[in-house]
Symmetry: C2
Subunit: 330 residues, 2 copies
DNA sequence: CCGCCGCTTGCACGCGCGTGCAAGAAAAAT
DNA sequence: ATTTTTCTTGCACGCGCGTGCAAGCGGCGG
């Protein structure tokens, strides 16, 4: 027992009458150690309040069991759902999570550098706006071993994508709208970034065109928050052209902004005057105020696949189907 | 340069023609080193792509520059605001953030243990429900050096509280309501936990009693989310007793649930039939759908004080005033 | 030109644990 | 009982860097 209060493996070894290495083995799942001495060690450890020092362990083994979660979008409540799943599920499997804030202003390499300095075994990007190429070069220069793009698509070959299958999802939404007789959708997307887009917009517009022969207009909000969506939708209707009968939104938070604009800026009813669909199924989407028709991303399943990647069982892109949720806005 | 691609201080030392320790000094702010050799080292480091290994550094110096953020409430969007501030501001000062999920079912010591095994310099609890005493004993047994309760109150002597000043806040809300002529408030709180409460309820009820002579009824939702608030408010009005003219809610997410219940379950208007106040000023509170009168916690200032604690300039509880925000629900 | 002082640099040692090997102990086979 | 095999344990070395001290270097006044 050191003076600073930390108990080391040596202390446990002394107490249990074995060597330090036997102590280490007792804490390792598949180590070659007799049941008797493992029990002896664990009892001594328990008595002394010993727990292995993961920092020293990481340094020695070159495996930190740490993953960096890199995010630059803290305005969408859905990120909270993602964080909850990631931290909880990864933790049950022994993985720690380092939350790294990626400012939009700087490039992603600072975030990646911060992660690599802590020797994370992988970095998971859950942010919404980032430059795909910069991420790639930053990855090349640093020693982040794995880079996973979560709930987002990446074209970068050094990167692994784990995402909801946008194609299946948007077709299901389009089929639903067609079956309800909607004819004039407008697609409301987030900011028109250069890379790491979703496939939702193109899937929807192309599929709609294929099924009806009519093309779909799409517009972009300035940011991924409901304020920007309110402004964009208000502006859309101020143009005075033919009125859409449904707004297909890239995610729920934008859809909620769209609904607020329709109801409180434009005095229109949802869905009687204009219908709305979202994406993500955030908690608020199920509230009586919104009752948003949306599509739930399979975050839990996606996190399981992330574990597969972390633990070396998977090394290719994954696109998983989610769940269409029909409520009262269509 | 190692074969695994990592550049160490030794590599930089060779390239710059100095010793490894001079390299370390070049990266340390107030180290005794000549300007010439610092520039030489930094140039070599830049050329090689060297960045100090924080893991090894932590092990050697017994300072990790890591803080654990312990949370068990992922249903309140305000947590996203808190996480954004904490990660961004702490990062600018060289602190990394480990996000730890604290399940409600188990006690807090597992979370604290996880943090201590990574040698965090401090743990910051931002969760809403936790047992104050267990936290204390867990702290005693582990080597987490500092335990900070953030945006919450703790009675535990081993713990530091950094929070919004509930007393000032609730008096301001009460004064506002009194000036608007409200007479029959009901206080709507979250779950009635045994410890680590906020002071909002007692402050409000006592202050209201002192100013009007009338006592305030208070009720509790089963959870800190809007669904539970909807149920509780619906049940309250189903009782059929005298109707309150304002619902004073412990936070915004509960206030939003209350508003949804009033509007969509009970057919009442806000604020004409019943007024509502919240707490936190989450983004949604400013939306046209809610326009919630609320009180903004000074998260940025609180984070600055947290830095003071982390860097040893402060070691006592802090209660900071926030900002009352009057909107259209009162 | 000498000696003292202040600035700069090098270095031994340690942080706590993992890896891979080899020796020792126990069990199995002969 | 002896040899062989299997299991279990101990250990040297290293992971990359920080701390504290001592040696080296230059400059100044006398």
């Amino acid at each position: 027992m050191q003076d600073n209060g930390a108990v080391t493996a040596d202390d446990v070894a002394n107490a249990a009458g074995v060597s330090r290495w036997t102590v280490a083995r007792a804490f390792k799942k598949d180590a070659s150690i007799s049941r008797k001495s493992r029990e002896k060690v664990l009892a001594a450890a328990e008595a002394l309040g010993y727990a292995p020092d993961l920092l020293a362990s990481s340094l020695a083994s070159d495996r930190s069991n740490l993953v960096a979660i890199i995010n630059n979008d803290f305005s969408n409540p859905h990120k909270l759902v993602v964080l909850e799943r990631l931290t909880r599920i990864l933790w049950t499997r022994g993985w720690g999570t380092l939350l790294v804030h990626m400012s939009d202003s700087e490039d992603a390499s600072a975030a990646l550098l911060a992660a690599s300095q802590r020797r994370v075994d992988a970095a998971v990007v859950i942010g919404t706006r980032f430059d795909d190429r910069i991420l790639g070069t930053a990855l090349g220069a640093r020693r982040v071993k794995k880079l996973v793009i979560f709930a987002r698509y990446s074209q970068n070959p050094d990167t692994l994508t784990i995402a909801c299958d946008d194609v299946i999802a948007m077709r299901e939404i389009a089929d639903h709208l067609l079956s309800r007789g909607y004819q004039h959708p407008v697609y409301l997307a987030g900011p028109d970034t250069q890379s790491a887009k979703l496939h939702r917009k193109t899937t929807f517009t192309e599929y709609w065109q294929a099924r009806t022969g009519f093309s779909v207009r799409s517009i972009h909000a300035d940011a991924y928050d409901f304020g920007a969506a309110i402004d964009r939708v208000t502006a859309l209707f101020a143009e005075g052209g033919p009125r859409p009968d449904v707004l297909v939104c890239e995610n729920d938070i934008i859809a909620i902004g769209a609904m607020d604009a329709l109801r409180y800026r434009l005095g229109l009813r949802v869905p009687q005057d204009v219908a709305v669909t979202g994406f993500d199924d955030i908690p608020l989407a199920g509230s009586p105020a919104y009752g948003l028709t949306t599509y739930r991303q399979p975050i839990t399943a996606m996190t399981e696949r992330l574990l597969d990647v972390l633990e070396g069982r998977l090394s290719s892109d994954v696109h998983l189907p989610g769940l269409f949720v029909a409520r009262s806005t269509t």
